[in-house]
């Protein structure tokens, strides 16, 4: 167990190296959700005047969307990095070491959760500057924890894609899943205001619960009901995609 933990820590440190040693590496992941937050607020801000919109303003309503988008983007980048490592032969080096495959996978995805805090924090600070309602410490912690969870989910997904296609050119496939998962929810409006087809998808999409959990502090009070649904959803996604990622890794090279 100790040895596995050390391997996970060592691989996480390597993954964090990129943003520490390449100054511009973190910028796209921070810039994209921030631009979306500011841009969507500017474009659709008046939509919050619609009856049934449960938020003081549109920006407050979509801040959690941007936080989750940034986290998902970071998670997807994990897969792009893995695809690069596969292309360049570095991944072979990991595969011939005696560490179990599960440990290697944990090492690859664990850094995503930590790295997701960067865009999440930046978006939150920008949101506060824009006048967004303070979500309370509990609301903020829950939002950030759920963001880290989503980053891990997207890291699992993008790892599966990277192992399947073995090329960085599959990056759009990794990113589009994040886009769909986070936006085909109550991202822009409460469920009652959505078109019926989107309402149906949002009802089925587990990320809707995650978004509701991240949003609750911003638009009202934190409740146990919303929180446990969000946590169960994110854990369920991690379990399913994590199992599929382990399976993909075990079959790699077969």
């Amino acid at each position: 167990m100790n040895q596995s933990f050390r391997v996970v820590v060592a691989l996480s440190r390597r993954a964090l190296n990129e943003i520490l040693r390449v100054p511009g590496a973190a910028i796209p992941g921070i810039l994209a959700p921030t631009i979306f937050l500011i841009g969507l607020s500017g474009a659709f801000g008046k939509a919050a005047q619609l009856p049934g919109f449960h938020a003081s303003d549109f920006t407050t309503f979509i801040v959690p969307v941007s936080i989750l988008q940034g986290a998902g983007f970071t998670g997807a980048a994990t897969g792009v990095n893995l695809a690069r490592d596969i292309e360049q032969g570095w991944f072979d080096r990991l595969l011939v070491c005696p560490a179990p495959r599960v440990t290697l996978l944990a090492g690859i995805v664990s850094s995503a959760a930590l790295r997701s805090l960067l865009p999440a924090s930046f978006v939150f600070i920008v949101a506060l500057i824009m006048g967004v309602h303070w979500p309370g410490v509990d609301g903020l912690v829950i939002a950030f924890v759920l963001a880290m969870g989503l980053a891990t989910v997207m890291a699992f997904w993008s790892t599966i894609i990277a192992l399947r296609f073995r090329t960085q050119q599959a990056a759009p496939l990794m990113q589009v899943a994040n886009f769909i998962a986070v936006l085909f929810t109550t991202s822009y409006a409460p469920k009652d205001l959505l078109a019926s087809w989107l309402r149906t998808i949002a009802s089925i999409n587990p990320v809707t619960h995650v978004l509701d959990g991240a949003r609750q502090g911003f638009v009202g009070a934190v409740t146990w009901h919303t929180t446990w649904q969000a946590v169960v959803s994110i854990l369920g996604l991690q379990l399913v995609l994590g199992a599929l990622a382990v399976r993909s890794l075990r079959r790699f090279g077969v």
Binding site: A32, G39, K46, V176
Partner: protein, 255 residues
Amino acid sequence: MLRAAVALARRSLRTTLRRPQFLAPLLVFPSLFLAINTGGLHRSTDLPGFPHVHGFLDFQLAAAMCQSLMLGGVGAGIATALEIEGGFFDRLVASPIPRVSIPLGRIMAGAVIAAVQVVYFLALGLIFGAHIAAGVPGVLMVLLIGIATGTGFAALGVMLALRARSASTVQGIFPLVFVVLFVSSAFFPRKLLSHPADWVAAYNPLSYVADGIRDPIISSITATTVLEGLAAALGIAAAGIGLSVVALRGRLREA
């Protein structure tokens, strides 16, 4: 020169079609965005001051087209930058063709791709219940403005590639695409934008392009709006082509 440019345009189209990973973002992401915007904010048509439309989808089609056309421009830039990085560009420069045909070929291909993009979104809209209020003449106007705009963005992409020379630098422009889109009337009527987006939108040529594309879809053709859109589109095209030729000259001078 025209012959060389056409030959290079055909080559660009062929290589683009063989790399679906470049083509897909031009259509897939804007389509998803269109779906989200329409599904999430369709009740926005109830807002006071929102123009009378058959449905929010009709309003959003112009935004999807503008987004797609801009991403097409970035795509043309990335493809050109990859050719420069890979040395194929130098091979063309060393061949006995008028050098201006090199960027023109890529730009012409951009015009063809723009036509495909516009037709795609018109078809998508019709499938999901949109109405083209101005009928066939309206479709033709939309095509005209769209192709001119797409040509312009392709030219700007080529210009960027000639100056930056690296695909990753050109790719870094992606966020700027969305900035320009958000501070225009592509997604929402100008008078319903939040401040200061509404102020910027008044000076953003993309607003006029979007309005020009939108007008024949949501109503019968309004001459002023459509002509302003066409003028903006042609202005972008002229500026883009001019800047790309200047960039080419600058690059050849350095070589």
